[in-house]
């Protein structure tokens, strides 16, 4: 432990000395901090990629291998022998995409109504909506499970468990609230007056005129819901009872629990589970960040 503490002390000493060396030194110190943290953030991903190309005995070797091996294809075969990754991928897609589509529809409808229409009880209903955000979902977790099993959404014969993951959470208070804020700032009332005079029905106005305006909000909220649902584990563990219907996180968990699992195959499966979202994130990081940090900062 002593050497480790010395190491950390040394790091701060270097920072301190650098910061005393004028403007250039200060910059170097800042970059040193940023790059060290970036290294810590990236290293686990790198390790995962490396290990998915190694043989199991290479993974268990000391000193650990830090460069890519040549066992990728073999790991791929082993993985396909033990689990059906493609099916889990399809399950994940089914659950996540249905969830996101419904969530966006319901949240934008609610948010739109709260920002545009005047109706009796609007204030009280909105206050209820805000209050629901304060109560942690943990309170209803056990009855939620009982309910799911009583209405037959926990089943080992049909993929009804998907419904348990999709339906209960798809209209969330935060989404409605967020959409309302966005509508208030971005939907001009005059536009709808004009559309009404042209004889558009209320539903046409919403789907033809309002929805396109809401696209940026859809992107952020959609990504937030997508990421959360794609990585959802606890609920899926409770309601999906058969490997055939497992989503990706559950499939990985099964491989962890199974003593016979080939470690290289497990790493490759992890890579496959993480990579699609990661690539998507790197392409649209701006939307991801605004979506996943939504709620902290008012626009």
């Amino acid at each position: 432990m002593k050497t480790l503490l010395l190491l950390i002390a040394g790091f701060f000493l270097i920072l301190f000395i650098l910061s005393k060396l004028g403007e250039g030194g200060k910059k170097a110190a800042l970059y040193l901090v940023l790059i060290t943290v970036a290294f810590i953030m990236l290293f686990p991903f790198y390790e995962m990629f490396v290990m998915s190309t190694l043989k199991t005995n290479e993974i268990y070797s000391f000193p650990p291998r830090l460069w890519f091996g040549s066992n990728l294809m073999k790991n791929f075969e082993n993985m396909n022998k033990s689990v059906n990754l493609l099916r889990a991928f399809q399950n994940s897609c089914t659950v996540t995409i249905s969830y996101v589509v419904l969530a966006l529809l319901f949240c934008s409808m609610g948010g739109y109504a709260f920002s545009i229409y005047d109706f009796p009880g609007k204030k009280a209903l909105f206050r209820i909506l805000l209050a629901t955000m304060m109560v942690p979902a943990t309170a209803g977790m056990i009855p939620w499970y009982i309910m799911m099993s009583k209405i037959g959404w926990i089943s080992d014969r049909t993929p009804a468990g998907f419904l348990a993951l999709i339906i209960p959470g798809c209209a969330n208070a935060f989404g409605v609230f967020w959409m309302r804020q966005y509508c208030q700032n971005n939907v001009p009332k005059s536009l709808m007056e004009a559309a009404r005079i042209d004889g558009c029905s209320e539903w046409t106005i919403f789907f033809r005129i309002i929805a396109p305006i809401l696209l940026p909000a859809y992107a952020s909220l959609g990504i937030m819901n997508f990421v959360n649902q794609w990585n959802e584990f606890t609920q899926a563990l409770l309601v999906l009872k058969r490997q055939k219907f497992y989503t990706l996180p559950l499939l990985l968990k099964t491989m962890v629990g199974d003593r016979g699992t080939d470690y290289g195959a497990l790493m490759l499966a992890s890579t496959c589970a993480v990579l699609p979202l990661l690539i998507f994130f790197l392409c649209a990081s701006k939307y991801f960040m605004s979506g996943l940090t939504a709620g902290a900062i008012k626009e």
């Binding site: 480790l4 009855p143 609230f177």
Partner: protein, 325 residues
């Protein structure tokens, strides 16, 4: 819909007549139809379970046979169960220690990027944020190999400095919390950083300039300007990660090889694992589990309220960032 418009204006002229509920609903049917999905789903899948859960916490029920009313016995048993205290202790320990790097690291990194002395803000932000989009199970799989005893990268790194290997995940089970803390911080630091940075960038440059003209040092700027102004945002992140702390389940569960008891000596037993092990996984103690869930909820609300109180103490005008929850 035109009918509604006409009716409304007419209604406002000859006001006093009270309308029936059915008429109100009919006239505003479009608006109500738009908000209905949320309220219906909330009633059925959130409010009902919550109320039912509260009632259930006073019963003994295995999910199949008749329910027995037993008063507060569930709560009493809960407080007497040493395993519950162990779980609470573990959860709080992990949460509190992990908040140090998350809070400080997040603030420091955001501050560095905000000085505009360095370039590549977006690249760094993107890198720090990557863990947030990664499946917790996959993350745990990677870290469990990095924390490996005989082959892990971390022990290898330590051995470079002459340290003997540490049995992180085995041994007496006490060090497994360290691994969970590392994973928890690794995941949340970027999220906090991005939020703090957005908050800092929302603060007008004039304030910094005025401060530097008045001869304020960096330390002054941080403690007297930045932190007070960022208070609502820091509060938001704290409440979020407190909720995250009490819901901590995936990492310790997968790290201990899918153990429902938290591994050796219950070293990684968190409240969430404890709860789900009472019911529906493991035991079928639905009443007891409901009591556990309510105790967890109560603690979340209690901590959030305390945090709110602490930050509201001074300067009510600091709400520039705004918060929702």
């Amino acid at each position: 819909m035109e009918v509604k418009q006409v009716d409304k204006t007419a209604g406002s002229v000859r006001t006093p007549k009270k309308k029936s509920l059915g008429r109100i609903l009919y006239e505003n049917r479009v608006a109500y139809a738009y908000i209905a999905p949320f309220y219906i789903l909330f009633l059925v899948f959130n409010l009902f379970p919550m109320v039912f859960g509260f009632a259930l916490s006073f019963f003994r029920w295995d999910g199949l046979s008749d329910m027995h009313f037993i008063g507060v016995q569930n709560y009493g048993n809960l407080l007497k169960d040493p395993l519950f205290w162990k779980a609470l202790q573990n959860t709080l320990f992990i949460g509190i220690i992990a908040h140090i790097p998350i809070l400080l690291g997040g603030l420091v990194l955001a501050y560095i990027l905000n000085t505009r002395l360095v370039r590549g803000e977006n690249i760094f932000k993107t890198i720090y944020f990557m863990p947030m989009v990664t499946s917790a199970v996959a993350v745990t799989v990677i870290f469990s190999s990095m924390f490996g005893y005989n082959y892990g990268v971390i022990n290898y790194f330590l051995s470079l400095f002459g340290e003997p290997p540490i049995n992180w995940l085995g041994g007496d089970g006490s060090l497994i919390k360290v691994a969970v803390i590392v994973m928890f911080s690794w995941k949340w630091i970027g999220w906090n950083m991005v939020i703090y940075l957005a908050g800092m960038q929302g603060i007008s440059n004039d304030i910094y300039e005025a401060a530097s003209i008045d001869g304020a040092t960096h330390v002054d700027v941080v403690f007297k300007i930045l932190i007070p102004l960022l208070k609502p945002i820091i509060l938001f992140t704290l409440i979020q990660s407190t909720i995250g702390m009490f819901n901590l389940f995936t990492e310790p569960f997968v790290l201990t090889g899918n153990s429902w008891t938290g591994g050796t000596n219950n070293g990684a037993l968190t409240l969430m694992i404890y709860l789900l092990n009472k019911a529906p996984q493991g035991g079928n103690l639905y009443g007891y589990a409901s009591a556990v869930a309510y105790v967890i909820t109560l603690m979340i609300i209690l901590i959030s309220t305390c945090l709110n109180k602490v930050t509201e103490e001074k300067d009510p005008g600091a709400g520039k960032g705004g918060r929702i929850r």
